[in-house]
Symmetry: C2
Subunit: 317 residues, 2 copies
């Protein structure tokens, strides 16, 4: 992948048309906000642009997706946002894996799969980069775009809490609010709204809490049974992975979730000293230093033991 400047990335977008903007599977707020935000800006100057995700976008992001209709056209210029690796493309997005013209991302672990790319691992979120990109393009940010990008920034920073937040992040948030971003409405939806089912699920998940490594590792499980009993859906599991690492004295928080076909999905959060990306890398996963994920295809107890063992080793590093 040829590394290009933000100015060059802006040029590519201004020169081309008929954009497909790819999102990773299990899209989060940053993927959705970046893709929809970028598409809305491209459309505002008369270009055709569609976001594309192999998965259904969770309802909690309807404040971004509602009313944004897909257009009919053949994709000519393929952009990826917030996409560290093409292994994270699924469904009808997968066919573009080898055809990405421009990658815009903030993952240090970006695998360099595109023809050209702008990757800033120090940006809090991909949406933060998109905001700067729009400024470089000299285009206006509408209220819709401001809301989409604000959603990306606030969700990827745990509402401005993570170490990835810079003074620049806060100033961009301020700018987006002045462009109409409904900060408190978005934050309320993303961070301060729980369905009754989610609250029920959290209670059940807390019952599974176990400690390892002298209390430095906390482990919780989201079982199929808890999902069914609580009536929770996938969107309701959002944020649960951050619970174990919030406990005082815990350095690594693990969340194990039962999936279909013998897959167990692990979310690993750390205090920022232990490297979650490296822990998950042992199992073919990835992410950031303080937050990463991976899947293990083994029996329940074996999968759990493997993860605990790698995390225990990571404590000593």
């Amino acid at each position: 992948m040829k590394t290009i400047t933000l100015e060059d990335a802006a040029k590519r977008l201004l020169e081309n048309d008929n954009f497909i903007v790819l999102m990773h599977s299990s899209p989060d707020g940053d993927a959705v906000g970046s893709a929809y935000g970028l598409c809305s800006v491209l459309r505002s100057i008369g270009k055709k642009a569609n976001p594309l995700c192999g998965d259904k976008i969770p309802d909690c992001y309807s404040c971004v997706t509602d009313g944004f209709e897909l257009e009919e056209f053949d994709g000519k210029f393929i952009v990826s946002v917030d996409l560290a690796s093409t292994s994270l493309l699924n469904g009808n997005a997968e066919k573009y894996a080898e055809k990405v013209d421009l990658c815009i991302d903030h993952h240090f672990s970006n695998t360099g799969y595109a023809k050209e790319g702008y990757v800033d691992g120090n940006a809090s979120s991909c949406a933060e980069i998109i905001k700067n990109l729009i400024d470089v393009m000299g285009l206006n940010i509408t209220k819709y775009t401001a809301n989409a990008l604000f959603t990306g920034i606030c969700t990827d920073t745990g509402c401005f809490k993570y170490s990835s937040v810079s003074p620049e992040t806060h100033r961009i948030a301020a700018d987006l609010m002045e462009k109409g971003a409904e900060s408190s409405r978005i934050c309320k939806i993303m961070f301060d709204t729980k369905t009754r089912a989610k609250l029920e699920l959290e209670k059940m998940v807390l019952e599974t809490l176990e400690y390892f490594g002298d209390g430095k590792i906390a482990f919780i499980q989201i079982t199929d049974e808890a999902m069914k009993k609580s009536g929770a859906d996938t969107g309701d599991t959002e944020g649960i992975a951050s619970i174990p690492c919030q406990i005082k004295g815990v350095k690594i928080g693990i969340t194990m979730k039962e999936k279909e076909n013998g897959e167990y999905r692990f979310s690993v959060r750390t205090d920022g000293e232990c490297d979650a990306c490296r822990i998950c890398g042992n199992f073919g996963g990835g992410g950031h230093k303080a937050a990463a994920g991976c899947s293990i295809f083994k029996e329940h107890d074996a999968a759990k033991a493997d993860m605990i063992s790698v995390c225990t080793a990571a404590l000593g590093e």
Copy 2:
């Protein structure tokens, strides 16, 4: 109380010496951050200044209070910060109730108890005002002061989530980070750290959840028994009051806490449409539109019924 400008407030501070800076009882992050932040700035120009609170300051604010020693002197100029009413002064702070020279506050409900005052009800936090005040005074913000003020701003805005947050709030946060505020460390302590006891307490509190008013009112209780059983202390109850109002469809969230001497302390949170300050005003309490508190001195069931009844009425307004 004579309303003065920020410039006049700055003048009073520069002209006087031997400051006592008063905080309200049950001090929160904004009270502590504002008082310690202001004192540290006054000390930096050779003046004597002590913060004063009738209550012990909770351990969770030790990142602000640690190493800040009290000086020996007779208070000559009395300042209050984040203090809506002198009825919130207790212990050894109470004796200054009639002697406040300068009040700096962000509560619309401020009762005007001081000789002179600067009250900006639109500021997200008192610490936000103190930051501007320091700029007007033309003084430098040290890393210590930046951390204290950042603590005030982030705690009083639920980490930049509430509707009180303006673009200005984010820009001030950015400035404070550039002055050395350790944003992610502070946020981690204030929002992402739970003792095991707190997690245990939360589980028990969730067991008490009840709905009223067609699910628009959610009610939880922090009983003495739960406090004892979980091993939680007062600091561990922080944030619990926001749980009921986070539930989808809930417009008013009530938290009832058993205190000594037949007192029940209520925290009321609303979706911002119902007026929490008015609800609590019925019982002699106060606060903001979306978050307020009060005490009721009655038997358990009667106190609870009174609050539910006032909240149910507020739903219809």
